[in-house]
């Protein structure tokens, strides 16, 4: 499904070019559940941004479902993010002015789906994450775990084949974190490809494959037995 070939991402710091990713090649198949681990500054976030089509690599090629991402323009990238990728962030990133339902509907707005159809699609997804009874609450009226579940519902509402989670349990207590992790594993069992950036070895232990990054390079890529 995903093929990264010799991907580099360089940043200019003064006179020097520093590579956040230095020649990374990875292949991801549909249905995988992958943990990306590594110390701070190892390039995890940069890899995530590239995979999520929020950024373009300096060199190398990124193919997503057979399409060359590195050559796309901004509008095409926006479309891929909208239809093919769901994001779950460490800090939830919900819009505080809107209800849970409106937040979940938001990606459908950019897919051009009329208001009625949006609600029809958003409500079952909220039900799936167990928040149907809270859908008219604003994010500030929800607990951290509930907010993250809203965020997962938002990521899923367009039925994307790929879900990217950046430290999804990082801001949660262990109980809520466990819940979120269960939801993600469950989704993976239903066929969604999931990649989780994490520091937490307990989280990584639930994944089928663990990729270790260090200094912008892959230093380990093992499939769990």
């Amino acid at each position: 499904m995903i093929e990264l070939r010799d991907i580099s991402k360089n940043y200019r710091m003064g006179e020097m070019d520093i590579c956040a990713l230095c020649g990374v090649s990875v292949t991801v198949n549909a249905g995988e559940l992958i943990a990306i681990m590594g110390p701070s500054g190892s390039g995890k976030s940069t890899l995530m941004n590239l995979l999520g089509c929020l950024d373009r690599p300096t060199s190398g090629t990124y193919t997503f479902e057979g399409r060359e991402i590195s050559a796309m323009n901004d509008d095409d990238l926006a479309h891929v993010r909208n239809a093919k990728i769901g994001f779950v962030f460490q800090s939830f990133n919900l819009l505080p002015r809107f209800s849970a339902l409106k937040n979940v509907e938001m990606p459908l707005v950019y897919s051009g789906i009329p208001a009625k159809g949006r609600t029809e699609r958003a409500v079952p997804v909220l039900e799936k994450v167990g928040l149907k009874d809270r859908m008219f609450h604003k994010p500030t009226e929800l607990s951290g775990g509930q907010q993250q579940r809203v965020a997962i519902a938002r990521a899923l509402v367009n039925n994307p084949p790929l879900l990217l989670a950046d430290e999804p349990t990082g801001n949660l207590d262990s109980h809520s974190g466990e819940e979120i992790l269960n939801i993600l594993v469950n989704l993976n069992n239903q066929g969604v490809t999931i990649m989780i950036v994490t520091h937490d070895h307990d989280v990584a232990a639930r994944c089928k494959r663990i990729i270790n990054l260090k200094d912008g390079k892959i230093v380990g890529d093992q499939v769990a037995p």
Binding site: G52, L54, D75, R81, N82, F87, V109, Y110, G112
Partner: protein
């Protein structure tokens, strides 16, 4: 993402900070209000002057002695060559200038009119019967100066209503004898009440036969000759006819001037049009300031919602979606402000004349259309920069923004 969706999002953002949005709008409201109000005052003055000038009598020509030139420059007075306009000149025009409906000789002066122990200094106008028609001033009770009064230099007088009230109060003035500069005049009529026209109190005058007036003021010349044509289109040809007749009588010199009502009207119209434009321009500056207020608040708003922009981009908003969202927000602020400003401006413009009678206002459709489209344009102009700034945010940095 269609327009209606974008509009809803923008409206929602505006309503989420009512105080700030209201204050921002206030700038535009005041600007639009000022444009509408000042333009309608300028327009009001123009309409008022036009109405007054037209009320003096349409197709009016005013022939005055002495040559004035419209092309400017200095003309040394050639002594003795300027002939006065005379009663005979007016008679010649009446007989021979067939393009004219009337040619009314006028003498003008002031005199003291007395009845018993009451006296009043007033303006005395010597005229012929046609004056009524040419100037749209008509006798109310009794009769006006007749042709035979003119022919016989009759000592008869027609009073303006104010003069009549001053001297006679509620008594009947007709047939009474008044003293006008030591001569005895019989009152034969009282004019209709007319009020003030262009600063001249039409009711504070008296009318006598033009010939009696020349005797009274000891002159054989006229102040002016008022002429009129049946139709406005005839004015140019009538001028040529008057010139040819008078030039012959004045030893082939054009020592008189002819002003037309139309020329006066268009001059006044131009002056007041410029005045209106200047007033509108000054008001436009305040609208511009309102626009800067919008830009300021939009820039703050873009900064505050950096994270929102990042989130929206991450879930699939294109740059143009973000651009449209903020641009429509700016245009909505200025548009709603514009509508409120128009309502207030028109309302105040309609109320002003009720309290300040000397300040006529006229709300013109073009000033409303102009003020509204200008306010929308201000929204677009001052909204584009912040909206563009928002749309070009890098989603990764925007998502990290605290």
């Amino acid at each position: 993402m269609n327009f209606l969706e974008t509009f809803k999002v923008a409206l929602e953002a505006i309503l989420s900070n009512k105080m700030r949005s209201g204050l921002t709008m206030l700038g535009v409201i005041i600007g639009v209000l000022a444009v509408i109000l000042l333009v309608s005052i300028g327009e009001g003055a123009r309409v008022y002057i036009t109405k007054e000038l037209t009320g003096l009598g349409t197709n009016l020509l005013i022939i005055t002695p002495g040559k004035t030139t419209t092309s400017g420059g200095f003309h040394p007075p050639s002594a003795g060559t300027v002939r006065k306009l005379t009663y005979d000149d007016a008679q010649a025009l009446r007989r021979r200038a067939w393009m004219l409906t009337d040619a009314v000789p006028i003498v003008l002066g002031t005199g003291r009119i007395k009845f018993r122990n009451l006296g009043r200094d007033t303006m005395v106008i010597g005229t012929t019967p046609e004056f009524q028609r040419v100037r749209n001033l008509f006798v109310g009770t009794g009769s006006y100066v007749s042709q035979s009064d003119v022919d016989t230099k009759a000592k008869v007088v027609v009073l303006g209503t104010k003069v009549k009230e001053e001297l006679f109060g509620d008594q009947n003035a007709l047939g009474q004898v008044v003293m006008l500069s030591d001569a005895r005049y019989r009152v034969i009529g009282v004019m209709q009440k007319k009020g003030t026209s262009l600063g001249w109190d039409v009711d504070d005058v008296i009318f006598i036969p033009v010939t009696s007036g020349q005797d009274l003021f000891g002159t054989d010349s006229l102040f002016e000759i008022l002429a009129s044509t049946p139709r406005a289109e005839d004015v140019e040809r009538a001028i040529a006819q008057i010139k040819s007749i008078l030039v012959k009588r004045h030893a082939h010199k054009e020592d008189f001037s002819i002003q037309t009502q139309g020329a006066m009207l268009s001059t006044m119209d131009t002056i007041l049009g410029v005045l209106t434009a200047v007033l509108g321009g000054i008001a436009g500056i305040s609208l511009l300031v309102g626009g800067i207020g919008i830009m300021n608040i939009m820039l703050v708003s873009v900064r505050e919602r950096t994270r929102e922009i990042g989130i929206r981009k991450a879930i699939g908003a294109r740059n143009s979606d973000i651009m449209a969202q903020f641009l429509i927000e700016a245009i909505t602020l200025s548009g709603v402000g514009g509508v409120i400003g128009i309502l207030l401006g028109v309302g105040i413009a309609l109320i002003i004349p009720l309290f300040v009678t000397v300040l006529p206002t006229s709300v013109s459709a073009w000033s409303i259309v102009m003020a509204f489209s200008f306010s929308m344009a201000v929204g677009v102009f001052f909204g584009v920069y912040p909206a563009r700034k928002a749309s070009l945010q890098d989603p990764i940095t925007a998502l990290r923004y605290e």
